[in-house]
Amino acid sequence: MSSRGEESTDVVEIDAIGVDEWEHEQHTPRAMDENLAALVKSSAQSGPTRAPTIDDGWEADAAEPSKQRTTTNTVSRPAPAKTKTKTMALPTVAPAAKPVAAKAVAPKALAPKPAAVPQVIARAETKAIVSPVAKPPVVKPLAGDEPLPGFVEVKPLAARGAAKPAAKPTAPPTERTPTAKPATKSTSELKPVAKPIAKPTPPPMAAIEPKPVAAVVVAAEPKPSRAATPVPFSPMTLPAWPPSNGFEDWDNPQSAATSVSNRVTPSRAVSSDFKPEDSVIVDLNAKPTATPSTDKPRRPQTAPVIQTSEQTPSTSGVFVMPTAAQPNATPVAPEAPELPPPPVVLAAAPSPSDGDRASSPGWNTPLPERLPGEPIAAPAAPSWPSAAGLVYEPHAPIVHESAAPIVLRRAVFRSRGVVIGVAAAAVIAIVVAVAALGSHGSSDSKQATIVATSASKATAPVDSTATHATRPGAGTMPAPATTAAVEAVTPPPKSPVKAPVATRRFSRSRKPVVVDYDKKPSSPVDVDEALAQARAAYANGNQHLFAGEGREAVAEYRRALSIYPSYAAGYRGLGLAFAQLDEKPSAIAAFKTYVKLAPTAKDVALIQKRIRNLAAR
């Protein structure tokens, strides 16, 4: 380094070559087997020699035995700069050596190893792999042996792994002792490395695992600097960097190619005569302003001008279709003269021959300006706005409609509406009436049902007689014979439509159980004729009972039950009557039936008391 001057310490030898050149020349020198054997032999005899480099090869090392060089494929870079260099060494020295273990070690920790060339290197294949695209600088061998920071050093395992028997070279370590003194200049970084070499102990390279690896691939990835580093000598002339002919450095953040700020598409070229005041400003929020009148002549008028008293002269062709006044249009104020009373129909309006114009103060048709020299029609008499403005044919006869048809039409329309309304009301009324009739009919049908039910109640004795025959205590009840003739005429029995309020269900019959305790005067049950008959029979039984006529009472009670089997009071009366007759079993059975039918009746307690008394007797 010292031979390169003062700047040599930080200078990197970069030989910028082309890709093809690099591929052609920068191949890894390979030593033939016979040469390698000779090299090994000579190395063992002559001591440490300079490690072969990429450039000089094995032969060069042999030519300069005095210089001790590292075995490193060295790529020197300036300290601040970062290069990306990968170096691979594939020694095949130790057959027991483990596969190559690549480790990335900090350059500072590895590079300053001025270790002697291992004498046992049988074959070292070193190759610098540098991306050709980036045109890496060619590494030139340093004049000195002092590596620089950022060096990449490839060390055979034997160089540092002496303690490892697997990677240990065949040469004894004692042979390397004389070579412990490095021939290169020792820098502060090289000193600690040189020391372990002198000792047979493994070097204190903590960064490297003490494994028997054949080689360590040290990959330092310094970022290459685009800045042209002054190179003392260069075999090739580096082109100017960056090139000025439209080169865009994509890696340079400051470059225009990568700078975001520079990515803005440049605007179109503005003409030289452009002035800022000529720019058109479009203000969407601006209110429309009146278009300045131009002095350009209008087209000649091809139609007569209709001029009214309320409007400025307007263009009127054959048809004049007045339009509604625009919101922003200035309404034309009517003139002072009072208008005649508004005509109802068009026929009331003056004829077109009178110069009537379809215009009114309410219509504000934008009118074109009159050209100079254009004839102006005579002002028309004021007229009331009418429908005549819609269609106006000056020369064609206007078909006037008399007032009567229009009025008639209006009346017809009105009458139609009235008729429709009346019809709708009628329909609604009919619907309501039908609904009412339906409900009324349903009530009638209900009534009919009730009547039928009442009639059917009369037929009940036949069926209920058989039922009573099976009931306990009712075996002696005779079936009323008077109802036999009635049942042939009466329709089949039907259950009552509406259940009475004071009724209770009984499983033996579908008819509701009636207890007069709960009856109400307006109860529908009262309507039931059968129930009424049953009550009547029950009342007769009571009279017989009060009179002490037990048998008659029993008969009446049974008749009541035959009319209406679910009339629970009949069973109670039977019990009382049988008790009066001193027929305890029948009385008890009747009472129990009553309690079963009306368990919640008010007199249940008294009935049960009587049952107990009868049973106790």
């Binding site: 009571n542 009972l545 009060f546 002490g548 009382l576 007199d603």
Partner: protein, 151 residues
């Protein structure tokens, strides 16, 4: 003149004759005595029924005795409450103006005798009740109770 005659005729036609007062039949007051029944104290019941049969109530035109007790009547007419309305219903069912009846209850183990006189006309219920120490006392004292009610 014609109008005047028409008015007179109308007045005469609209005017109705005064109803002839016919003598209404006077309703007889019927007193109905109801027998007393008691399964626990049959003797007292019997004594009470006898006592009621011998009772004299003022203002009564007819006196009769029913075959059933007041309890049976109330059961038959489905009105078992000891109220004026139920008594009225019972009297109506029995076609009586007044009811006289006695009830024997058990107050603990002592007989309790209640004698009631119900007047249907004014719906008055007059009840005298007394608990006797023994059944014999009740039998002996039932007359006094009936007399007290009918007094």
């Amino acid at each position: 003149m014609r109008g005047f005659l028409l008015v007179v005729a109308a007045i005469a036609g609209c005017a109705h004759s005064k109803p002839v007062a016919t003598p209404t039949p006077v309703a007889k007051i019927k007193l109905l005595t109801l027998p007393t029944e008691s399964d626990a104290f049959p003797e007292i019941a019997s004594a009470a029924t006898t006592a009621l049969g011998h009772a004299h109530v003022a203002g009564v035109d007819e006196e009769s005795t029913t075959k059933v007790s007041i309890e049976v009547v109330q059961l038959s007419i489905e009105c078992v409450d000891p109220s004026a309305s139920c008594y009225e219903a019972a009297a109506k069912s029995l076609s009586a103006n007044k009811l006289l009846f006695a009830q024997v209850d058990v107050d603990g183990k002592k007989p309790k005798i209640s004698v009631t006189l119900f007047d249907r006309g004014n719906r008055a219920v007059k009840t005298v009740a007394h608990t006797f120490a023994t059944e014999a006392d009740a039998v002996a004292g039932v007359d006094g109770l009936v007399g007290e009610v009918t007094r």
